[in-house]
Amino acid sequence: MIILKPHRRVWRNALSMFSIAISFGMLLSLISVAWGLGEAAEDRSKGQPRDMVISSLGIVPTIENSHIRSQELKNDEGNFSAAMPVLTMLGRLAFPKEDAGLTPSMDLSMEDTPQGDLEGSETVGLVGLVPDLAKDFMGEDDTLFIRTELLKMNGWFNVGSDPFYESDYKQGWTGEIIVDQEMAKRYDLDIGSPVYYINSSGKISASFVLVSTFDTFLMGEGLSSDIIGGIAMIHLAELQYLTNNHIISGPGGERRDLSTAIYLDIQNERSDASTQKEIAIDLERSFPGLQVTTKERRLYRIEDEILILKSFSIGVGATTVMIGLFFLSSVMLIGVEERRKDIGILRAMGISRLSIFQWILSETLIIAILGSVVGLIPGYVGSHYLDIYLRGLYGVELEFTYMSPTIIVICFCFLIVTALIFSLIPGYRAASVDPVKFMRE
């Protein structure tokens, strides 16, 4: 029978299978990257007790009286189980070569600082928060989700409140700072090491003492560290003071206690979608002009952002598979031409057109299936090395690829359906061999 003689075309079939395997492997690797990024973003976003965020448009802090407003929301126990104000800004930190033995200060004079004796300075992402309020947002594994970054805390602030705010920004400077592990390693920082803040006039204006570190997922040694040098966490009021967001006066009026966002955790019994929507509408009324983002909207936004990447990966992977299948179809067509004699005899013996058609389809499918099975190896290896490459490039411990049976099945089904479509041409050509005409020839 036709398909029982593959040894006659062993090299041809082997090479075809090899090409299909490579195409399939590529499709698998690309889709694993697209899904990996999507899964990572969604998992991190889903797993955190941060149901709702009231935020400014960009990084400019516009929420006034954020301590009081957060406390008011927290007191609304019917709706919320936790609320915390957050201020996120870019700022510069400097690291002394040796422990100068300074006590933390909010107003360092030039004489107090070891000018010219610094290990280096970095532009970092600064996060200001109230430790006691932030603790309510911590996961069981001591993780805290700030903006798009998941922080795994190795310790916490000694002072839970925000005393500098309570004294109206006059006293109670704690000078506590927590920095990411990568930055701590880079500057050889230990618990108790001093860290300086450089103000927007380029002067060292305050000092902190390192009280702990945290591990991050998006910060590392690669491209991520080219963008910002690290992340640091301090008390909210202290960051407000340093970045001039504590009290601002001008013709526009006086603004106090500014933050970029208020994070909210909704009571479990109020967490259904329709109630969340109602709460969001109420919040939009209370905070006009600001964005109120629910967890659902956040996930939509993530899906929206990943959609372009997914479409691109699927498009490129699918095109590679199609290229392989165009060629496979052509090879099968040659096979049919070569075996016109065999097919003619089979037709003359009474084998139906449908059977001939099915045989050709089966032969194409066997090559495609074998190709995809073999393609699992380059697919898996490709996905693994893409993960290593991307981790190295960005220098972060994030799962860039995600390989699951579902993805393999989806890719497999795509290949089989496409192979079936492409095998229609040689199948039809084989089935259309006329035995009478053939015998006459």
Binding site: S19, S23, K203, N244, G324
Partner: protein, 417 residues
């Protein structure tokens, strides 16, 4: 020549091969065009803005411009202007947000604001007035007064605003209308601004935004005391001056070296190219795999095809055709396939790239105006042609060599196997 007519005998087979090569070329064109597009568009965008040097906060990645600020903006600009390499044009800017109250819609929204000095910003090309006019008042009276006397004179507010075309559409306001601006969501003083013109911002795509006088933005936001800026654009008199100014800014003569960094256009593009190199690596993998698949299949098809022509080739050898002549003709056949596939692929590739650019500019709102993610240029086309020539040569070489080495008497003796 008979070999060139061979595809005519199997049009369906050769059509499929040509389609496969065309698909491969479309993919290759797309992948190469991606990073080329980003590079070219970035280069073009920066060229249209027209700044040779960007003064930004110290240690800030140039790609994060507008996300951090520096103080003493006026003094820093004065220091640069009095350097041995003064810029011919300069424009200090502050990027911030304000609340806009549209009385008709009774809706408050936060909006991006650039504070600029009109007569200075005019020399750069980021903002283009598409309706109405640029500011009536060219200078920045409030800031000038405050810098010389230290007094805030609210009566000097020009209350002139230029708004983005998107904001004009969304709020339903036009030139001559007024909008209320405030630094506070509620309870703050509102300033009634008259719309002088409508602009398009080449960096913001379809984004909403407004332009007001720098001094007024600083006053409203309360940053006038520190004279806070986000960047200063400089236009220099020639390439040499750019390099000299950068060198000067890194020396002790520039007293604000600890506050700001000076980045050239090349520095910004360099940062961006760091990211496009990632795309290049990815494109190289895709192109290599696509070529490998095409090459393997093309070789298989040509081998089968040549095998079927064993007798014809032997006859040609027997009547005196040299091995090289046969090899040349076999190359011609593989070249014909790849050439046709390549041409079709290039035509469709360009069409796909154009369709993608148009689709992305519609859907990606933040994309700068005129920014094309994909770009096919001459170098790209030459590269694509080179790739399919490699496919053609590679695919034709093995079967051509095998068939030309075959002994004609042996080939004539039996059916080809």
């Amino acid at each position: 020549m008979f070999l060139l007519t061979h595809p005519r005998r199997n049009p369906l087979r050769w059509s499929l091969v040509i389609f496969a090569i065309a698909s491969s070329i479309i993919l290759t064109t797309m992948m190469i065009s991606l990073s080329a597009g980003i590079r070219e568009s970035s280069d073009r965008t920066l060229d249209r803005i027209g700044a040779d040097v960007y003064v930004v906060p110290k240690d800030l990645n140039p790609l994060l411009i507008n996300l951090q600020r520096f103080d003493q903006g006026g003094s820093i600009l004065d220091a640069i202007r009095s350097s041995p390499y003064p810029p011919i044009h300069f424009s200090p800017r502050s990027y911030d947000t304000l609340f806009i109250n549209s009385t008709d819609l009774n809706k408050i929204s936060e909006i991006s604001v650039y504070g600029v000095v009109p007569e200075m910003e005019e020399n750069f090309g980021q903002f283009e007035v598409i309706s109405g006019q640029w500011f009536n008042t060219d200078n920045d009276p409030v800031r000038e007064e405050y810098r010389s006397t230290g007094i805030v004179r609210e009566d000097l507010f020009t209350l002139e605003v230029i708004i983005s075309s998107q904001l004009s559409r969304n709020l339903g306001v036009d030139v001559g209308d007024t909008i209320l601006l405030s630094s506070r969501i509620q309870g703050g003083d509102e300033f009634s601004y008259r719309i002088d013109g409508i602009y398009s911002d080449m960096l913001a795509g379809h984004g909403e935004g407004i332009l007001i006088h720098l001094g007024e933005l600083q006053m409203i936001k309360g940053t006038h005391i520190q004279d806070t800026l986000t960047e200063i654009l400089l236009k220099m008199d020639g390439r040499d001056d750019v390099e000299q100014l950068i060198q000067w800014s890194e020396s002790d003569q520039f007293i604000f070296g600890g506050v700001v960094d000076l980045h050239t256009r090349g520095d910004i593009l360099g940062e961006l190219y760091g990211f496009t190199s990632l795309i290049d690596g990815f494109s190289a993998i895709v192109i290599t795999i696509s070529i490998l698949v095409s090459l393997t299949f093309l070789t298989v098809i040509l081998m089968i095809s040549i095998k079927g022509m064993g007798k014809e080739l032997a006859m040609l050898r027997a009547i005196g055709f040299s091995r090289w002549s046969l090899m040349f003709h076999l190359f011609q056949e593989s070249f014909l396939n790849t050439f046709l596939g390549g041409i079709i692929g290039l035509i469709f590739g360009v069409m796909v790239v154009k369709a993608l650019n148009s689709l992305l500019s519609e859907t990606m709102e933040q994309l700068p105006t005129g920014f094309e993610l994909f770009s096919v240029d001459v170098v790209t086309l030459l590269f694509v042609i080179m790739i399919f020539t490699v496919i053609s040569t590679g695919a034709g070489m093995v079967p051509a060599l095998i068939s030309s080495l075959k002994d004609p008497s042996e080939a004539m003796r039996g059916e080809s196997r």
